[in-house]
């Protein structure tokens, strides 16, 4: 290690220049990085349900549908109708909008003697203006299933304006333009935007706000904590600089490799700022602590010692994040794992290579004269009031402390059984977010907004297939959370009715073929059948986000499908409920898998480097305890396991293990030096304990900032990581010494 340290000092100039050049290079890449809030695209390509869902969404245009909910005291008044018309007309002429359907332009088909009349429900050029006319409209709307609960809410206070985006249009751009333009109309009614394109636009907006505000706040908070801890500008600048460079590198690399910032990976900067600064803190701290008067020598000595533990803690953190790569269902989480690992690696390199090189290039060593004045840890406030009492309690009452932890763990285990999982996208928004309100209205008044697709493969003009479709639809509607279904079979039934033969599927194929004449070229057809008529889809919506209700629906549907699947009519189910059920299972599975992988890897690495399997286990114990407490807390507080909080345990593991490693390295070293267990603990608490507390406080503070995020799961994520930092720090400072005492005092007694 000494050779490496010397090499770093010798090559200080090339190192600084290379890092600067690369940083400028990556920095230039960042300006082109794009936000991608499309969660659908992050569904895995090797899972049949998600592939089918993506496929169907693309093929039948379901993913390009948006809606505006207009809410007022009553929809049936002339000024409100005028505003609906204004929105409809505005949307109709917008670039990127393909079709618009609203109360003021919806088609009305009336049966009449010997035929039908196609007209409009409302004459948009002569809106009803008298009470009688408005009441007549209201009666008509509520008398038809086609309108009630579809275009006007069951209570008559809200209406839907639905639109589809043109294929190939930049959805986020169009969605934003729609929102801007409609809001600019300054209508008196309450407007809410819904549908996937609008949700994605909103999430992108929230992500942007988060990045813009939270990152600088995290930066300032960490800077402030560093300033009071080190009381030097250098102690603030170097950690922030090294993590800042790591952030620039990783973002630049993402752009260079064609990745976009996602709902999960947009937190990488904040996470790196919190974690990355820790390595430099340890390096700078070690250099400061070194009493050697020749500061260049001091640098080399300090570096030679610190490289191992810093490298070790970095590697374990990286393993914590890489465990996502193997355990994740969503590609956004996998990518997050990859790039956070890379970011941590960069931060690690910066702290052990770039920071020492920089110090030596600019000779910004601390003035030796000042060294004398530096208080030893015992004389600081932290030492007097926190570290000293803590080490005293630990030494005197190890049993008490171990009981404390055991009780805490038992309580937490109870909590673990209450953990809920949630994969609901509406949960991404805070309670009062307009998007969440609109989802609620959609669910209560319009039969939900979560698409369900049943795909039929077979001859779409055969009576058998169409009859199976009708049977499936009837079965679906038995579920209270399915309000209406739509398929080409419904249209054929209606056309058959128009021909005067009743609302049913004709038994003769040639009749169906002729009825098709009326449907060909209708706007709705590409949303229901494939071009060559060998595939069709039932489109429906599910009106609940409850995991259990979704699970029940999917299970019963799959049973039905199994019973009705034939060679000539193959049926498959997909949609948000299916994907969520799958995601939900995978969430728990991937949690177990990635945690197990991470724990084994960490114990293995620590054992190898400390050359003791037992020490590997010791190091892991406070972390395992922290993770149990973390899950217990989630169970009791009602914070659910979701795409963001699923990351916490592995993050906590990767970061918390650092504390254990620093403690054990120091304990081992001191035990060898002094041969006394108590002395080794006291000394370790004073030196490593201080670094750990600074680190816990700065990292926790960094993550606490995430609680102000606009994306709800990220808020929970911030809180949970902060909590686990506190517990793992606390565990390393109390539980670990207790284990140490119990292990080595016994040995001492036996030896004596």
């Amino acid at each position: 290690m000494k050779k490496l340290a010397e090499a770093i000092v010798r090559l200080r100039w090339p190192i600084v220049v290379v890092v600067l050049v690369l940083t400028i290079f990556f920095g230039f890449q960042i300006k082109d990085i794009r936000l991608n809030s499309d969660i659908i695209s992050s569904l895995p390509d090797d899972d049949s349900i998600s592939v089918l869902f993506k496929d169907v969404g693309k093929k039948y245009g379901g993913n390009t549908m948006g809606m505006i909910v207009l809410q007022s005291d009553s929809i049936f008044s002339k000024p409100v109708l005028e505003d609906i018309r204004q929105i409809t007309d505005t949307l109709k002429i917008m670039q990127g909008v393909s079709t618009v359907t609203s109360l003021t332009n919806i088609i009305d088909i009336k049966g009449s003697e010997g035929g039908i009349e196609i007209g409009q429900l409302v004459d948009e050029y002569d809106l009803p203006d008298t009470k009688a006319k408005l009441d007549a409209l209201k009666r008509k709307v509520f008398s038809k299933d086609m309108y009630k609960g579809t275009i006007v809410s069951k209570d008559g206070t809200s209406t839907l304006i639905m639109f589809t985006l043109q294929e190939g249009a930049d959805q986020q751009v169009v969605a934003k333009a729609i929102k801007d333009k409609i809001l600019a109309l300054h209508l008196p009614e309450k407007l809410y935007f819904g549908g996937l394109p609008m949700i994605m636009n909103d999430i992108a907006g929230l992500m942007m706000t988060d990045l813009r505000y939270l990152l600088p706040i995290t930066f300032l908070i960490i800077a402030f904590i560093l300033l009071i801890s080190f009381q030097s500008v250098r102690g603030v600048l170097l950690p922030l600089l090294s993590s800042g460079i790591a952030i620039v590198w990783v973002l630049g690399l993402m752009q260079l490799l064609g990745y976009e910032l996602t709902l999960v990976s947009d937190n990488i900067p904040i996470i790196l700022l919190a974690i990355g600064s820790a390595y430099t803190i340890h390096v700078v701290n070690q250099i400061n602590e070194c009493k050697e008067r020749d500061r260049r020598k001091a640098l080399i000595i300090a570096l030679a010692y610190i490289i191992t533990p810093v490298f070790l803690s970095g590697i374990t953190t990286i393993f914590g994040f890489t465990s996502f790569i193997f355990g994740a269902y969503l590609t956004i989480i996998r990518d997050f794992g990859i790039f956070t690992s890379l970011g941590v690696l960069f931060a690690l390199i910066m702290s052990v290579v770039f920071v020492p090189a920089l110090i030596s290039v600019f000779s910004i060593y601390r003035n030796p004269e000042k060294l004398k004045k530096i208080k030893t840890s015992e004389n600081t406030l932290m030492g007097k009031f926190l570290l000293l009492p803590l080490s005293n309690i630990t030494l005197k009452n190890p049993i008490l402390i171990s009981y404390f932890w055991i009780i805490l763990i038992i309580m937490s285990i109870v909590g673990i059984f209450n953990i809920k999982t949630s994969v609901n996208m509406a949960d991404y928004f805070r309670k009062n977010n307009p998007m969440r309100v609109s989802e609620d209205i959609m669910q209560k008044q319009f039969g939900g907004s979560q698409p369900v697709f049943v795909v039929f493969k077979g001859d779409m003009q055969s009576p058998g297939v169409l009859k199976t479709m009708i049977k499936t639809e009837n079965f679906m509607k038995e579920n209270p959370k399915i309000d209406n279904t739509q398929s080409v079979a419904d249209l054929i039934e209606e056309m058959n009715d128009i021909m005067g033969e009743g609302k049913r599927i004709p038994d003769e194929k040639n009749k169906i073929e002729q009825l098709w004449f009326l449907l060909d070229g209708q706007d709705i057809m590409p949303q229901l059948v494939s071009d060559n008529l060998d595939e069709g889809v039932i489109q429906s919506r599910f009106a609940s986000y409850d995991t259990e209700e979704m699970e029940d629906f999917v299970t019963s549907m799959n049973r039905f499908i199994k019973e009705n699947n034939t060679k000539d009519c193959r049926i498959e189910l997909t949609g948000i409920p299916s994907v969520y059920v799958k995601l939900n299972h995978s969430l728990i599975n991937s949690q177990y898998r990635s945690l197990t992988i991470a724990i084994i890897l960490v114990i293995f690495i620590v054992s190898v480097i400390l050359r003791s399997f037992l020490k590997g286990i010791y190091a892991a114990l406070p972390i395992i305890a922290t993770i149990i407490i973390l899950f217990g807390f989630m169970g009791f507080s009602g914070i659910s396991l979701n795409v963001a909080t699923v990351l916490v345990a592995s993050v906590a593991l990767g970061m918390g293990i650092d504390y254990s490693i620093h403690m054990i390295t120091h304990l081992t070293y001191m035990l060898k030096e002094t041969g006394d267990v108590d002395a080794s603990i006291k000394n370790t608490m004073m030196v490593s304990g201080k670094a750990i507390i600074i680190n816990v406080v700065s990292v926790a503070a960094g993550f606490i900032v995430l609680m102000f995020s606009h994306i709800a799961p990220i808020q929970d994520f911030g809180l949970l990581v902060a909590l686990s930092m506190i517990f793992s720090g606390f565990g390393a400072l109390t539980l670990l010494p207790v284990i140490w005492i119990l292990a080595y005092r016994k040995k001492n007694i036996r030896a004596n």
């Binding site: 009449s112 050029y125 043109q166 021909m499 005067g500 003769e508 002729q514």
Partner: protein, 244 residues
């Protein structure tokens, strides 16, 4: 027909006198176009409808067609086989009858929604309507472009789905060369291009290609075996005839 010859003569005369094309009265041009398009008393022929989707895939339908005046029209489909025999009869006042041989009966379909597509094509009922353009639109002369005059047509009815049409009318034959349709946001949404040929005394639109620019979908209507003024009577446009 006299009118047409007369107008041709007038045009030629004006040109000889050295009048600038800009001096052409937009109203006169549009009226002449209407005359070219709607002067035959009746017409029979075969029509091929080619629907072309965005990937270039074609669907072909064939029908025989009979038309009397501007408001009576009968289509009888002959292909594809599954839809052979289906017939539609359009009568004045937006009334249409549909006959399906598989059911053996006809249905009356009346529609007041003019923006609806006609039988799956890119033509709306509005576009298919054989009402003279000069009755529906107020023309403004824009410019001379190559072999034709470009006019801007403003719909007289506020209910029109279009804000304006830009049309190019042939300088001497007065048939339309193209028509561009603009929505109320002033974006071009559809383009129709015409190819005319002279059959007897009349100019016949042997091919019309309508492109929906939003959906990137095309419809071609190709006429053949056209005969004019064969003396069709109103009796040829009845429900009884439809079912034959």
């Amino acid at each position: 027909m006299k009118n047409l010859k007369y107008s041709l003569f007038v045009t030629a005369f004006l040109l000889i006198l050295g009048f600038n094309a800009n001096a052409q009265d937009a109203n006169a041009i549009l009226k002449k176009m209407d005359e070219v398009m709607y002067s035959p008393k009746d017409m029979t022929g075969k029509m091929k409808i080619v629907l072309i989707d965005k990937t270039g895939k074609e669907k072909i339908r064939e029908a025989t067609m009979m038309q009397k005046g501007t408001d009576k029209r009968l289509f009888r489909f002959t292909s594809p086989a599954s839809q052979s025999g289906i017939a539609t009869l359009s009568l004045p006042n937006d009334v249409m009858y549909l006959y399906m041989p598989a059911f053996g009966k006809e249905r009356r379909i009346s529609t007041s929604v003019k923006s609806q597509k006609f039988a799956g094509t890119d033509f709306s009922y509005d576009d298919m309507e054989a009402k003279p353009y000069s009755e529906k639109y107020t023309p403004v002369f824009l410019k001379t472009e190559g072999d034709g005059y470009v006019l801007k047509l403003i719909p007289k009815s506020p209910k029109s789905q279009y804000s304006k049409l830009l049309i190019k009318v042939h300088k001497t034959a007065f048939y339309p060369i193209y028509m561009e349709y603009y929505d109320k946001g002033n974006s071009r949404i559809k383009v129709a291009t015409y190819q005319f040929e002279k059959i007897g005394n009349y100019w016949n639109a042997k091919e019309i290609e309508m492109t929906d620019l939003k959906k990137n979908h095309k419809t071609k209507m190709i006429m053949s075996d056209v005969e004019y003024d064969t003396g069709l009577s109103d009796d040829d446009f009845t429900v009884r005839k439809l079912k034959q």
